[in-house]
Amino acid sequence: MTLLSTLISGVAYGVPLFLVASGLTLIYGVIGVLNFAHGSFFVVGALLATTIIGSTVPTVPTFIIAVLAGAAVVAALGMLTETTVVRHLYRRDHITMLLATFAILLIVEGAAEGIWGNSSRAINKPEILSGSTQILGTTVPLYDILLVIVGAVVAIGLFLLINKSTFGRSVRAIAQDQVMGEAVGLNTKRVMLLVFGLGSALAGLAGALIAPNVSVSPSLGHAFILQSFAIVIIGGLGSVTGSLVAALLVGVSEAFAVAYATYLTGFTFYILVAIILLVRPRGLLGSAKLGRA
């Protein structure tokens, strides 16, 4: 393990966390809902991918289909959640919303257990992605490079979508002041639905991408949702850039712990959270409003 390969594997570890956390923070920033069910959406993405990839010999096209299907199905699931539950609770307090989405977490997880069973399953990557390559004299797994690229594409895409597009402008307006947004003629209901769908799609995408690297079971979401919640908090609630910074920080510090301080593995993240919350209670970029981050 050299410094460079540790760094790359850390970034690759951080990318799925970023995807999950950015969806979470986007939804929070615009709608003001901390969506507990996000973790179960992530699991659904992963389980779907294992089913699609596991049913054949993994090739690049099936892999792409699996990833896209994961994102699409989970987006639909998120939009269903928004229309059936979340929309009716906007006027109630935060805790009601947390509890309602916690209930959805249990329902989705229970349904996933019913469909996929409780056992964990593992799948292989397409052959072409399971190798490794040489960068500056160190061996780096190809899949890590793919993850880094996907992370970069999504980060840039989100930035452009929020800051440069018409949709992004209405999203920012609603995040600032929902009533005013409605007054100037924005269809807030539709924008919020789309944001919920987009955020959920990011969770599904992360799940599908991580599926070949871990053993997938319906309870996979617990550990992951905790980590992504923590990333949202240390990045600053509602800040997409903050979640990127925090996810990379967590990923890289974890990779360094694995390489140089094994006894800290699995804990670096919690230590980081404690330190950052003590120093900056509002998170790294907590003061930044959505879009201006």
């Binding site: 916690f102 959805i104 249990l106 329902i107 019913g114 919690y270 919350l277 209670p281």
Partner: protein, 340 residues
């Protein structure tokens, strides 16, 4: 934990913060007769039940205490926590780790409570500067750390847990037989519930309600918001720890599941099911939950699914729980009667 309190309370407020209502509550007998009703009702139920249901009720009354301790935070003070199982687990493990000692069960309960109070105060101190939702997330994370530690610290034995925790004897009476243990646990639970009820009715309890309703105004009338929140957190943690100690003695085994995130969620569901607004709501909810759990979907493979549906229904249709629904029903009956 703290919502933006722009004007911190003036430092000298030694007098009881709220004068109104406290004079009435000084001679209030509710902290005595309500726990007695609770004790007699559950005990009668216990001795007419078949043994397998006795077992369920034995755990249910311990969970009633645990859910009430969560009520101190959610219902009384408006502090949201998603890691309450951690304190229950800390209490349970404290008793479990001392199993070789011969200090008697009551001493273990005391130690469990004290250890949990210390842990709760530490977390409360760390979280003091955080806003509501952030604090809820911090408790969730801390709870997860505690859960992971049970696998990392060799003395805690990981997945196997610690077993063989003795019950011992209290004032010379052996509490090993189930019936004796029932008396021991229900008396402990009833006494602690009585103490909590007294605190609930005290000036301290009323100050907590004021903080819940409006922290900024509470600070403005001289309530030391930060320290009272910390005290509420310590109190809730301590009672949860005591319940954990009792749970360890009851089952004579402690496993990491007592600290899990899922269990934290269950405690919230119990308290919500009964209703957070009344003192006895969470306790009622815990007992109901235990029986629903055992009778309806305890062994069903779709337990999680059913649990989620119940929670969603409660949150969306009966946000004030069973007690709230009963109160609404009573109001409705009163109104129809007065119309005649």
């Amino acid at each position: 934990m703290s919502v933006p309190v722009r004007n911190p309370a003036p430092p000298k407020s030694t007098a009881p913060p709220l004068e109104t209502g406290s004079s009435r509550s000084r001679f209030d007998l509710r902290p005595i007769y309500e726990p007695l009703i609770f004790l007699s009702a559950t005990t009668v139920a216990y001795f007419v039940m078949p043994p397998n249901m006795q077992y369920v009720l034995g755990i249910a009354v311990i969970y009633a205490l645990l859910a009430t301790s969560l009520g101190v935070l959610f219902g009384w003070t408006g502090i949201y926590t998603f890691g309450h199982a951690a304190f229950f687990g800390i209490g349970a493990y404290a008793t479990a780790l001392l199993k070789e000692q011969a200090w008697g069960p009551l001493a273990f309960l005391g130690i469990s409570a004290v250890v949990a109070v210390i842990a709760a105060m530490l977390i409360g101190l760390i979280g003091q500067r955080l806003a509501k939702v952030e604090f809820a997330m911090l408790t969730m994370i801390v709870g997860q750390i505690a859960y992971l530690l049970t696998f990392r610290v060799p003395a805690l034995q990981g997945d196997n847990g610690i077993y063989g925790i003795p019950r011992g004897d209290v004032f010379g009476i052996d509490i090993t037989p189930p019936a004796s243990f029932w008396w021991y646990s229900i008396i402990v639970v009833a006494i602690v519930m009585g103490v909590l009820r007294r605190i609930h009715l005290s000036a301290f309890g009323e100050s907590l309600n004021a903080i819940r309703d409006d922290a900024v105004k509470a600070a403005a009338i001289g309530i030391p918001v930060k320290s009272l929140r910390l005290a509420a957190f310590g109190l809730a943690g301590g009672v949860a720890g005591l319940a954990g100690g009792l749970f360890a003695q009851q089952g004579s085994i402690v496993t990491p599941s007592t600290l899990s995130f899922a269990f934290s969620g269950q405690i919230i569901i119990m308290a919500l099911l009964g209703g957070m607004m009344g003192f006895w709501g969470p306790a009622l909810g815990a007992i109901l939950f235990q029986f629903i759990n055992a009778l309806v979907f305890g062994n069903s493979p779709h337990g999680t699914l059913v649990l989620g549906i119940i929670l969603l229904a409660v949150v969306m249709l009966f946000p004030s729980g069973v007690l709230g629904a009963l109160a609404r029903l009573r109001d409705l009956l009163m109104r129809t009667r007065s119309k005649r």
